[in-house]
Amino acid sequence: MRKKISAVIALVLVLAITLCACGSGSNSVTPNNSGSNTKDFVFKSGSATIAMKAEAEPLLKALGAYKNSYEAPSCAFDGMDKIYSYGGFDLMTYTQNGKDLVSGVVLRDDTVETPEGIAIGSSADAVKKAYGEFEKDATSATYKSENCKLLIIFENGVVTSVQYIALVEK
């Protein structure tokens, strides 16, 4: 009799656990086009370390004189989108709650490079070594960190554009 009871109890426990396991949420991490990075991607120029969504004012001071600036009414946010062109890269900002924040950095020529050593003209293999794998024969690679999307565009296996893009809610 005791054995019967034990068997029944064992059966119901197995049933219970099986039932729970049936509904288990997907735990698998969907692989990115590339590796994911918990440390935020930043761009450095001189003494300035430019992180996405950082306040622009102190960075503009640290970067010094720009070659050109352009302002355009923002589509996604209130305020103005601004683009500051420096030697080798452009810095973009957007307005939020009255403050200008960094929305992006675009490398314009091979005189500058990322802290990980990637510049326009770098090879796809160098990008893989620096940031991780991406799909074979891809024409671009995207790497995400907490606040930043790093977009690298290739042409014939050579980097033609490097862009830091802030991850912002619309």
Partner: protein, 524 residues
């Protein structure tokens, strides 16, 4: 499907029209169909779980019913049965009933335990032993804590012979899945609910109207007050490094208001909606912040949960053979005075441990449960002192003293409740004492409280709402407010209802711009 959604209102409207249009004998069937549709929309993947609980509990009830029926038939059909045989027959049926009960409890409480507490156990093991076992992230079906306890209450009552089992599986399924009470309770008793749930209901305009008013009152509490406070509560609790000191006191206060408005508002919607279908659910709150002490508070707050634990854990444990042995031992070792307290307090600790665990799979809730227990035990121990105080101090028998006690009970419960919102127990115990520091106080009153997305006008709305809660609470003490409203002349009656509808639609914290998660995301 959330109560606060147009989808739910549309669902309710369609069900309501069909309910009173169809022949009355189909009403309970329609409620069952509606409840399954509600669950399918809200939690489609997990329909199987509630189905397993409903089916297994019904089946267990049927088996127990058959065993008891066989016992009764045997005793009846054996006119010359001896006393011993009769006793043995009853004992055998009782044992069989208990075995079936135990299987049913293990299955359903097992499902609840595994779904809700596996990761809690894994987390605890990892913390204690430095292991790195991966979390299993089991599914948590909607309402599992409520419908499991409600079903287990039923099967325990059936095994005790309190009432006969429901032999109609569809009717029993309705008891388990009845949609208004799935999300937040109340935890109903079968003998009380079945009478009203399965009977045929006429279209009673007065009852339906009062049900609608009750539901609207619930929507007001949830949408205008509770949902409005979410950004403040999460903003402070999720950023302990930024918001300490005065902010913690604000958190204690606003979280309590939010919890009160959300929980009692949800129950008002539940009871109001059920009433519109002619079904009377048990009250779950009785003006809890009019309580003068913690014991009274727990008789007025989440009443059905309290009585469930009392009937199915406290009393059975208190009168169990094991506890009787403990009582005997403690009286012998500790003397009669102290000795008689031990079994009561042990049972109380067990109940509060279970209450804490039931509330959530984290140590925060366990500690919260045990702290409540501690305060209750201390209050009971200090009872003679309080009695002396009341004898000596005339003021303690005045309304002013009552108000002070209510104020004290509010803050006591509010401080205990702050364990709900901080990440873990050590953080909570670190943050609460900062209230007595100078941190945050000046910042808070010079615009600090406006950093969470709420403006001054939002706080004014909350303040006005609290005053309204107090007034309604005072009125409720005399007679249910819905009945008082029904007695009013037409114009003021409809004016009050209109104003309520307009206030909900205009001041409700719903729609674009009120997504609390969006706010939190945008904070960074």
């Amino acid at each position: 499907m959330s109560f606060v959604s147009l989808g739910f209102l549309l669902f309710l409207l369609i069900l309501f029209v069909l309910y009173y249009a169809l022949p009355r004998r189909f009403q309970w069937v329609l409620l069952l169909a509606g409840s399954l549709v509600f669950y399918a929309f809200a939690s489609p993947k997990y329909l199987i779980y509630i189905a397993v609980t409903a089916l297994s509990t019904w089946f267990a009830g049927k088996l127990i019913h058959d065993a008891y029926a066989a016992r009764d038939a045997y005793i009846k059909d054996t006119p010359d049965i001896t006393k011993e045989d009769k006793k043995a027959c009853k004992e055998q049926a009782k044992k069989k009933g208990r075995r079936i009960l135990v299987c049913c409890l293990i299955l359903n409480l097992g499902i609840l335990a595994v779904c809700k507490y596996t990761d809690f156990a894994i987390g605890t093991i990892n913390s204690l032993f430095g292991t790195d076992i991966a979390f299993l992230r089991f599914a948590l079906p909607m309402g599992i804590s409520f419908y499991t306890f409600q079903s287990m209450g039923y099967i325990i009552d059936v095994s005790r012979g309190k009432y006969q089992a429901e032999l109609n599986p569809a009717k029993f399924a309705l008891f388990v899945t009845f949609f208004p009470q799935l999300v937040q309770g109340p935890i109903s008793r079968f003998d009380q609910l079945s009478q009203t749930l399965y009977s045929e209901h006429e279209f009673e305009a007065q009852k339906i109207t009062q049900g609608a008013w009750r539901a609207m009152w619930g929507f007001f509490k949830k949408m205008v007050v509770a949902d409005r406070l979410v950004p403040v509560v999460t903003g402070i609790a999720c950023n302990p490094d930024k918001y300490a000191g005065g902010y913690v006191l604000a958190l204690v206060f606003f979280y309590t208001i939010q919890l009160y408005a959300d929980f009692t508002g949800g129950i008002d919607i539940t009871i109001g909606v059920a009433k519109m279908f002619g079904v009377d659910l048990a009250e779950n709150f009785d003006r809890p912040f009019f309580s003068k002490n913690i014991t009274e508070f727990w008789r007025r707050w989440h009443i059905t949960m309290g009585t469930w634990f009392k009937d199915y854990i406290f009393y059975p444990v208190s009168v169990s053979k094991w506890m009787l042995k403990v009582s005997k031992w403690s009286r012998a070792k500790l003397g009669p005075q102290l000795g008689k307290r031990v079994p009561v307090y042990l049972s109380t600790i067990l109940v509060w441990l279970a209450t804490g665990i039931w509330h959530g799979a984290s140590w925060n809730f366990v500690v919260w449960g045990l702290l409540n227990c501690l305060v209750i035990i201390i209050s009971q121990e200090l009872e003679p002192l309080y009695a002396k105080f009341h004898e000596k101090c005339a003021f303690s028998n005045t309304k002013g003293w009552d108000v002070f006690q209510m104020f004290r009970t509010f803050w006591l419960m509010a401080f205990l409740r702050v364990l709900d919102v901080y990440r873990n127990v050590p953080l909570t115990f670190r943050m609460v004492p900062t209230i007595f520091s100078s941190k945050g106080w000046s910042e808070m009153f010079s615009g600090g409280m406006l950093k969470f997305g709420l403006e001054e006008r939002d706080y004014i709305i909350v303040a006005v709402a609290i005053v309204i809660f107090l007034i309604v609470g005072i009125l409720q003490g005399k007679k249910p407010v819905a009945e008082q409203l029904a007695e009013k002349p037409l114009v003021p009656r409809y004016l009050i209802v209109w104003v309520l509808i307009i206030v909900i639609l205009v001041f409700g914290a719903y729609g674009i711009g009120f997504d609390a998660t969006q706010f939190i995301y945008n904070q960074f």
